[in-house]
Each structure stands twice: as C-alpha cells, then as structure tokens.
C-alpha cells in the first residue's frame, strides 16, 4: 500500500525519522521545567564558572581566553584559567552564539548557555539510536533512543540551566562508542579517524574521557585474549590510538599526561600488544606450524625481557606516575575519607544507595540484565564491548552516585535490545512454534504498559527532583501559595552594588563560583578545589576564635565574610551543617590548631546552643551565623535545622554585620578596619559602652 507515493522501505524510513523527531522534541521539552517555573537562569555552582568563562570567551576572543590568568580567583594565588579547564563546552556555546549572531539572531549568551544541554540531549538520543542500530537493528535503536531521551539518570545533569560539562560530554561519549563499534565491525580507517576526532572533542569537554581511553583498550585486550584478533581490529585500534592520543595532547589541561600517567598506560600497552600480535599473525600465515611455534617461543622471550628492562628502568626513575587521588578512590573507596577529605565531602561522590538505581532508571534496571544475556547469546566483537562497558559502568555507578550518568547510555541500549527481542518474538506474523494469540496479546499489553509507566515516571522525577535551580528555592506556604526564596541572588547582588570591585570576599568553597559569577568579586577559594592548603586556611579561619580569625583574615586582605545560614527556613545545606567538613579539612593541614573533637560538647553531641563546647561557642562561624538571630526569633528561639534552642548570647567585636537577606539565609559581614588608637576591638567596645 503506497502512502504519500512512497514504497514500503521509504515509508519505514519516514516513520523512523518522524519517531526520532518526536523523541527529540520530548527530550528537549521534558528538560524545560525549571525555565517555565522560575526563569532562564544558570543553576547550581559549577555551571557558574562555565558561564563566566563563556562570557569572557565571547567578549574577549579566543586568544585572550586561551591565555587567561584570573587574578580574582583564589586570592592571592590566582588561577591559570586557560590551562586548567576543559574548553569544549565554552567553545561550543561561543560557536553557537557567533553563528546565531552572524545570522542576525541576537540571542543573549545566557540563553545559549541555559538551552545548550537540552539541545545536545536531543542529539544524544539520535546518537543512541545509531548505537542501538549498530548493535542490533533499527527497532532496538529507536527504543534505546526513546529511553535515553527521558532517562532520569541523564536528565539530572542536562536540564535547561545545568550548564555543565556532562551536558555535551555524554553525547560525545555515545558518539565515540558508536563510531568505535562501527570501525571495529567494518574495519574502516575513516570511521576510526572520525572516532578519534570525536574522542578529541570529548577530551576537550570532560575529565571522564579517561573512561573511554581505558574501556576501548580493554575491549581490544579482551578480544585478543579470546583469540579474536582480526585485521579489522588492528586497523581500527591503531588508527584510533595514533590520532586520538596526539589529538588529546592538544588540550593544555591534559598536556603530556598520556605519556606518563597510569590512567593512559592501558591504551599504550594495548597499542604495543596489537602491533606484536599482528606481526605474529603475519608470520603464522607464511610458515609451517612447527616453525611458527619456535618463532613465537623465541620472540616471546625476547619481548618479555625487553619489557621487563623498560619497566624496571621507568619505575626506578619514577617516570610512571601512579593513579591520581580522584580515580584511585574509585578502587579503594575508603582512601578519600582518610587522605583527601575534600573528595569525600562532596555529596555526589558518595556511594550509591539501592533506591537510587530504581529512581534513576526505573523499568530499565531489570531489562538491563536481559540485554546482557542477549549480548552473550550473540557474542560478536561488538557484544563483547557492550558486556565490558556494562560491567565496569555498573561497578563505578555503585561506587559513586554521580557516575550513574555513565551507566545510563549502556542501560538504555541494552534495554532497547531486550525489548526489541521481546517484540520480535511476540509480534512476528509467522505462524511459528506454539505461541498462541491470547498470551501474545497479554505480553505485548504488559510490555506497553511498562514502557508507558517508564515515560510517566521519568517525567514525574524530572519535574519534582531534578528541576531545581539550587540558586532559587521554592516552597509552599500553609495555604498552598508559592513562596520563592531568592536569598542567594539578593546577597550576591548586594555585594555587586554596594562594595568596591576589588574588595575580597571570604566564604566556603561551595559558593566561590557563584560569587565570581553573580557578585563579580575576588574570592579566596572556589569550587575548583585545587589548593587544599588554601581551603584548609579558610576552614581554620571559620573554626578559630574571633581574634585569631580576625588576624588571619586581615593577613589575607579579606574585606567581607559570607556565610549561609538556614535555621530560620529549615534549609539543611547551610554552613553550620558543613562545619564538620571545614574542621576536618583544616585539621588535615593544621592539626595543632584545629581538632574535631573540641567541637563536640562533653556529652559527645554536636550542640550549638548553650551546651555547646567552648571551641564551638567561640568559633567565628558560630558567631557569624547566630549573631542577633535570637532577637528576631524572640523568646522561643529555636534552630529549625539542628532542632535545638539557640545560644542565649552571641557577641561579635571584630566583624560588623553588613547585610542579612530576607529569610536570614545569607549573612555578609565586614572585616573591621584596625582601630584608630591601636586598641583591640573588644577593648574599644568596652570603652564605648561605659
């Protein structure tokens, strides 16, 4: 039957294009909740840094961006921005911005940044379709694309406003893997070269490229161990490695790491191994079996001896660096808490709880093992890759909540494969062996119901859990009315309008990027967390008594101190709750000045009221948070987050209150200048009060 004058093949093709278009629309649409509910604003913390650097790139040009040294971050150290970031997302946004402006469509850079991730999510869905099609057929591809478009595991990092590296990195991950599988299946050097270019784009976008450069060599090694060497594999991997490694070294942040760090050694090893194996196969095709055995024996001894010498020399000279802390903590999960508290303190680095998997993947989580089973049944070269990816991604997702993101693509693809197999078994028109009509309809009905419930679940999760801008909070009053809490922006804009441009603000590192982005003031520490000692110094300032803190703050030229305090609203992510982490990090560097045990009272509780320990009562953070809070709360003063009575009196001499926001969420204090007569501020206050 001809529809629109098209043949059957063309009809299916048109149908597929329409389906992919609908999937893209749904993918983009379901990510727009926060823009519709609040406004087009950059979310969270890290995206503010990306936004600030994108603005700089767009206004000052690429040359200045590449060589930018930022004096206002990490005062007084500064930060070499050009060399310590992944430029992929900024360059992409700037390219889109410039392209739109060249067409005379004046889109603001903020809107380009906010809507970049949803746009790329549509592209990710299409790339997942290609991956599914590569692995099985178009049905699996379309199902995988439909899953990927709305899977909450991916949506969490790619909503509108979440302008973070993962937004484009997941698209590039799926694209690179698709091109790699195609290169291996066809043996095409062109596919491998384009895969290397996609890998280069991925290296420029996200630090998670280490996953790719270890998974692909692992795939190669496992295939070699299975005895599946083929010329196609040689062509694909050699071309990919040669181009990909050279290309990845063009990013300053990566630099020369591919030549000496452990994270990149697997790829180099696989490259050497495949050259050797290729030579061996060449020889085997041309000599008799007996001669080949002799040849292999001699060659093996020679190569092993050579490798041993090289390894001994390199490790004696310390040339091969061990795994860096961030990746090492994925193997030894207790390592970070003891040695690098900063890594352990980030909430998204915590191990994953069981409900998280269902929360983020719903129906897919049990279709995933079914897909692995089908991969084992067919077990071509590509299926070996899928199995390896599944195993390692599942392990990493179990160790760190944030890495459910890398698990999501493979779960979607394998779930698509599983459902495609179900469709094939129960939808085929052939009067095949014994599947009667009624059970067939029942199973297909059940399957459809589950798929629909997945879509409904994903939309609900996106709407309730993953669409919060974090900068702006919302709550409902007792009569159901919407109440917007905009304290953060209120405080940052106060700083922006009421302080001199050079005045420095001290706060905990969480707020550094937001301060730089919205208040546009120099900060001491920010979310980059590259200098543990500096962060420990800030922690020490917060944890010390007022006079020590004043001394240290003046030594670092601090003008304002900013603290976040959630007791009036019940906001549990405030600084007093983070205080223990500040103390632990400070203790790591200043063990004689800050001790964690001092901040618990004699009963061992984390008390903040009148029963608090001396160190806690006198610490700067406690004073800055609770100063005058009792006055506004009245006689029944109560801390809504810690659920304790407030301290009866809080005195402050060396700092004066500059600004407190409407809901007492953000409090800004000015570091007082030295007294005119050289007295301490406490004595000056006593003199004035007599």
């Amino acid at each position: 039957m001809k529809v629109l004058g098209l043949s059957a093949v063309d009809q299916t093709r048109l149908l597929r294009i329409c389906i992919l278009g609908l999937i893209s629309i749904v993918a983009i649409g379901s990510r727009l909740y926060s823009v519709l509910r609040f406004e087009s604003v950059i979310h969270e913390f890290d995206p503010w840094f990306n936004y600030r650097t994108t603005k700089y790139l767009v206004h000052h040009g690429f040359e200045k961006f590449w060589n930018w040294f930022d004096e206002s971050a990490w005062y007084p150290l500064g930060r070499v921005v050009g060399g310590t970031l992944y430029p992929g997302i900024m360059v992409t946004s700037a390219a889109i911005y410039n392209a739109l402006h060249a067409l005379n469509i004046p889109v603001d850079i903020r809107n380009v940044c906010v809507f970049l991730a949803p746009g790329f999510s549509a592209l990710t869905a299409i790339a997942t379709y290609q991956l599914g099609k590569e692995v099985k057929n178009e049905t699996a591809g379309l199902l995988a694309a439909a899953f990927m478009g709305v899977a909450p595991g991916y949506i969490s990092r790619s909503v509108a406003g979440s302008y973070d590296n993962e937004g484009i990195a997941i698209f590039l991950l799926v694209l690179t893997f698709w091109l790699w599988l195609r290169a291996v299946r066809v043996g095409s050097a062109m596919s491998a070269a384009v895969c290397a270019l996609s890998y280069f784009y991925m290296v420029s976008a996200w630090g998670g490229y280490v996953f790719i450069i270890n998974l692909i060599p692992l795939h190669v090694c496992v295939l070699l161990a299975m005895g599946r060497f083929s010329n196609r594999l040689y062509v694909a991997y050699s071309t990919f490695y040669a181009l990909g490694t050279l290309a990845s070294m063009q990013i300053p942040f990566v630099g020369f790491q591919p030549t000496f760090t452990s994270e990149h050694m697997a790829a180099l090893g696989a490259f050497g191994l495949i050259q050797v194996v290729a030579a061996a196969y060449y020889v085997r095709a041309r000599v008799t079996a007996v001669q080949f055995r002799t040849f292999v024996a001699c060659a093996a001894v020679l190569v092993a001896a050579l490798l041993a010498c090289v390894l001994v020399v390199l490790s004696m000279r310390g040339a091969v660096a061990p795994w860096t802390g961030r990746f090492y903590s994925l193997w030894d999960t207790a390592y970070a808490k003891v040695h690098i508290p900063i890594i352990a303190s980030v909430s998204e680095h915590q191990p994953t709880a069981w409900p998280n998997f269902f929360f983020d993947l719903n129906v897919l989580i049990w279709l995933f093992p079914a897909g692995i089973y089908f991969s084992f049944r067919e077990l071509s070269d590509n299926h070996v890759f899928l199995i390896l990816y599944s195993v390692f991604a599942a392990y990493f997702a179990g160790v760190m909540v944030r890495l459910i993101l890398t698990l999501t693509p493979i779960v979607c693809v394998l779930a698509g494969v599983a459902v495609a197999n179900v469709f094939e078994a129960y939808l085929s028109h052939s009067p095949g062996p014994g599947v009667a009509q009624v059970p067939r309809a029942a199973i297909m009905g059940a399957m459809l119901f589950l798929l629909c419930s997945f879509q409904w679940h994903s939309s609900w999760i996106t709407s309730t859990a993953y669409s919060s801008p974090s900068v702006v909070l919302a709550s409902r009053g007792p009569d159901g009315s919407h109440h917007i809490i905009d304290d953060f922006r209120e405080a940052y804009y106060w700083l922006r309008r009421n302080t001199e441009p050079h005045e420095r603000v001290l706060s905990w590192w969480d707020y550094g990027y937001q301060l730089a982005g919205m208040a546009d003031r120099p900060t001491l520490v920010d979310n980059n967390t590259w200098n543990n000692t500096h962060i420990a110094t800030v922690g020490r300032i917060m944890a010390s008594d007022e006079d020590t803190a004043y001394d240290l703050a003046r030594r670092h030229d601090v003008d304002y101190v900013l603290v976040v305090f959630g007791a009036m609203l019940g906001y549990s992510g405030d600084d007093i709750n983070k205080f223990l982490w500040m103390i632990r990090i400070a203790q790591g560097v200043y063990p004689n000045d800050v001790r964690e045990q001092d901040f618990f009272n004699s009963a061992g509780e984390y008390a903040i009221g009148d029963t608090a320990s001396k160190a806690m009562r006198e610490s700067l953070l406690h004073k800055l948070c609770y100063y005058r809070f009792g006055d506004v709360m009245g006689a029944q003063a109560f801390d809504r987050v810690r659920k304790q009575r407030l301290p009866s009196s809080v005195t402050l001499h060396n700092f004066e209150e500059a600004y407190t926001t409407e809901n007492w969420m953000v409090r800004i204090y000015r570091v007082k200048d030295l007294d005119n007569l050289g007295r301490s501020h406490k004595n000056a206050a006593q003199f004035d009060s007599t």
Partner: protein, 108 residues
Amino acid sequence: MSAVLSALVHDYAAHTPLRLRAIDAYMAFCAVIALVQLVYCVLVGSFPYNAFLAGFGSAAACFVFAAALRIKSDERNAHQFSGSPEGAFAEFVFCHIVLHFIVANFLG
C-alpha cells in the same frame, strides 16, 4: 630459528607483489625515522617535549596508516573488508590530513 627466518624471507620474496613491497619500504622508512628521533631524545634530552612527541607521534602514525593501507591492499584479505583498494587509499589520505592538522598545532 634461522630456518624460520629464511623461510619468511623466501616467502616474502616469492609472493609479495610490487605494490605491497612499496608500502613495506615506506613503513620501514617511517620506523627508522621514529627510531632515530627516539635515540636522539634518549641521548640529548627531551626538551622541547611537545616537539619530540609531535615528531615521534607523526612518524608512528604514518607507520600505522601505511600498515592499515597495506592490510587493505592485500588481495588475501579482500574478503574481510567491504571497500575497494581505492577506498582504502582514500581513507589513508583522510587520516593523513587529520594528522597534519594535529601535528602542525602540536609542534609549537
């Protein structure tokens, strides 16, 4: 072992067509260039490191691309690949163009 090597040499001389021998000579040349650069680096030092990596990397990449071209031009392997020998050469050229841009940026 020497018997194996002489058998290999005989087989090579007898059965390898001129096209593949040309590619083999080019591969040997690339390998020698890479080896010379490596020896220089070990003897004289690795500064500037990016220049060394660019030179060594491009020699190694040329070797690899020529090896891929050789594998695809060999009639014995024709059943493993779907493209023609001309397609193989086109891929060879494409890889070199990409390599050119990368190395030109890396040399510094």
